[in-house]
């Protein structure tokens, strides 16, 4: 039983870190610009391709990772400059539609490049050795990618929190999110702060892209859709626009997702003879082993309940109105 529970917890933490890396990026941008950046998943996808092609080219891992992070940041900055800056302050619907357009361009651009490189749509991801195989602790075996994912996610998130609360640029981001005109009036360079937010958000997405691709083992130009949707749900659960909320929501979602699988297997992990056959039958009836395949349905059900009963999210508390 211990082994099974520990494995599920590690799965939850690992998925939570991935969602958190993505959700923080969404929350950063939304906080300042009121823009729901649905192209974020596609930025993550591009990062996975940058890593893959750098590794295919035989570059050493640190160089490949440098290209992945650096290239993704440049793409994030270019998207902000070309697509979002001209419509900044415009209607939220216009910004949302623009983000879909940017996503489409990234997907089709990647598709085009893979065709030009004579690669199939779906390619195997050259997962780095450090992310391959399993870690064995006693009888518990955990995929390395999950351990590294959780660990690196936590380290990066703590770093981001420190950056946002301890540095001038971080405080400027908070100020811009709180009151953009007032931030301008104290002399904050809004263009610079927004660019920094996009750069940070893209860097986080690139790490998420590497982890996601290493877990999945293969990549295609459409892989960003599910992660960005999950990150969006995580951010809503936590309290949209709040950075700590995004992190809390992401780990909550990670755990929420493993619960159906965990419950589905509950009858199998009880020691033989621990419960009477009647109870064993009952458990198998209430929690069929196929419960895990209803994972997304259960997550969305929870999201609906959240929106009904606590629309401001876990950390949202009461209505967060700006003080006039």
């Amino acid at each position: 039983m211990d082994v099974y529970v520990i494995q599920q917890i590690v799965n939850a933490l690992s998925a939570g870190s991935l969602y958190a890396l993505m959700a923080v990026g969404l929350a950063l941008i939304f906080g300042i610009l009121r823009l729901i950046n649905f192209a974020h998943g596609d930025v993550m996808m591009v990062a996975a391709y940058l890593a893959a092609f750098s590794l295919f080219a035989g570059l050493p891992l640190p160089v490949a990772l440098g290209i992945m992070v650096g290239g993704t940041v440049l793409i994030g900055l270019a998207i902000e400059r070309i697509a979002y800056r001209p419509i900044r302050g415009g209607p939220e619907v216009a910004m949302l539609l623009t983000s879909f357009a940017v996503g489409q361009i990234l997907q089709n651009g990647t598709l085009l490049l893979t065709r030009l490189a004579s690669q199939p749509i779906q390619i195997a991801f050259p997962t780095p050795d450090v992310l391959q195989g399993v870690v064995a602790i006693g009888r518990v075996t955990i995929p390395k990618v999950n351990v590294v994912g959780f660990g690196s996610g936590m380290v990066i998130l703590v770093g981001v929190m420190l950056f946002l609360t301890r540095t001038r640029t971080g405080l400027s981001m908070h100020a811009a999110a709180d009151d953009l005109p007032a931030a301008q009036l104290v002399g904050i360079r809004i263009n610079r702060v927004v660019a920094a937010a996009f750069a940070l958000s893209a860097a986080l997405a690139s790490v998420a892209g590497l982890l996601y691709a290493s877990q999945a083992g293969q990549i295609n130009p459409y892989l960003g859709f599910t992660p960005v949707l999950k990150a969006f749900i995580a951010a809503v659960i936590g309290g949209f626009g709040s950075i700590p909320g995004a992190v809390v929501g992401a780990y909550a979602l990670g755990f929420l997702e493993v619960i159906p699988t965990a419950l589905g297997g509950i009858a199998d992990i009880l020691p033989v003879g621990a419960v009477s056959p009647e109870i064993d039958d009952l458990l198998r009836t209430i929690f069929p082993s196929a419960l895990g395949s209803y994972r997304d349905a259960i997550v969305f059900l929870f999201l609906i309940l959240m929106l009904l009963f606590r629309p401001n999210g876990i950390l949202g508390g009461g209505a967060r109105e700006d003080v006039p």
Binding site: R168, D179, A183, Q184, L185, G187, P324
Partner: protein
């Protein structure tokens, strides 16, 4: 120090400022009064670079700043304390003050915290408190304190007494008088015309985008039209 020359500003087809000229000399406290919609906020936005004039010039110490960015204008020495206070509600008092000095080196800004809290002891007691939880008067103090952190040579105050309790209005004007005694140049937009004319050296009256009256504050206080329209006598 500050001079507006034949300034025109339009929102689309609506002409908000129709050629206003005014100046603020070093060490002066100049009041800008007028009813709602007269163009006071538009004037301040143009000075701070939030709005681009359609024509005319804004000179600060001889340099034309009418096309400069807001952060450049703040670095040059013009700081605006916005209407409605607009403190960063989710940040602490200390963080608000530190951000007020964003255009200056961090070490200098940190050492200025002490002089600001000397001016506003209430803020000093609440440095770690989130600004959104302060009272309206405290938030106004914080907004002024934040604007002072850039060490402005010209401080622009937009409706500093708006929505405050009478006792707090007195306190705010004490602060303004104190800053004037220390030689700070100020441009004050204020619906409390009584108080504004008491503190100011000179004043301008703005009506539908044009300056209709100007002169020493003492003189305007006894002007029949000002008495009738703004002082309610």
């Amino acid at each position: 120090m500050l001079e507006l020359v034949d300034l025109h500003v339009a929102y689309g087809n609506i002409r908000a400022l129709r050629g206003i000229s005014m100046r603020v000399e070093s060490g002066e406290l100049v009041a800008l009064i007028g009813s709602n919609g007269a163009g006071k906020s538009t004037t301040l936005k143009a000075i701070s670079g939030l709005l681009r004039p359609t024509s005319g010039r804004i000179l600060f110490e001889g340099e034309d700043i009418s096309r400069a960015s807001t952060d450049r204008i703040v670095s040059l020495g013009i700081s605006q304390c916005p209407e409605g206070r607009r403190v960063f509600a989710r940040l602490t008092v200390r963080e608000n003050l530190l951000l007020g000095g964003i255009t200056r080196p961090m070490s200098e800004v940190r050492s200025d915290l002490a002089s600001t809290t000397e001016l506003f002891p209430r803020l000093g007691e609440r440095m770690g408190q989130v600004a959104g939880t302060l009272s309206g008067g405290e938030q106004q103090m914080l907004a002024i304190g934040r604007a002072l952190m850039s060490r402005p040579r010209l401080l622009i105050l937009d409706e500093p007494s708006l929505g405050l309790a009478p006792l707090m209005v007195e306190r705010i004007f004490e602060v303004i008088d104190g800053l004037k005694d220390r030689g700070l140049t100020m441009l004050l937009v204020e619906q409390n015309v009584h108080h504004a004319l008491d503190s100011a050296d000179r004043a301008y009256v703005l009506e539908t985008g044009t300056i209709t009256l100007e002169g020493p504050a003492d003189m305007l206080r006894h002007d029949p039209e000002v008495e009738h329209s703004y002082l309610g006598r």
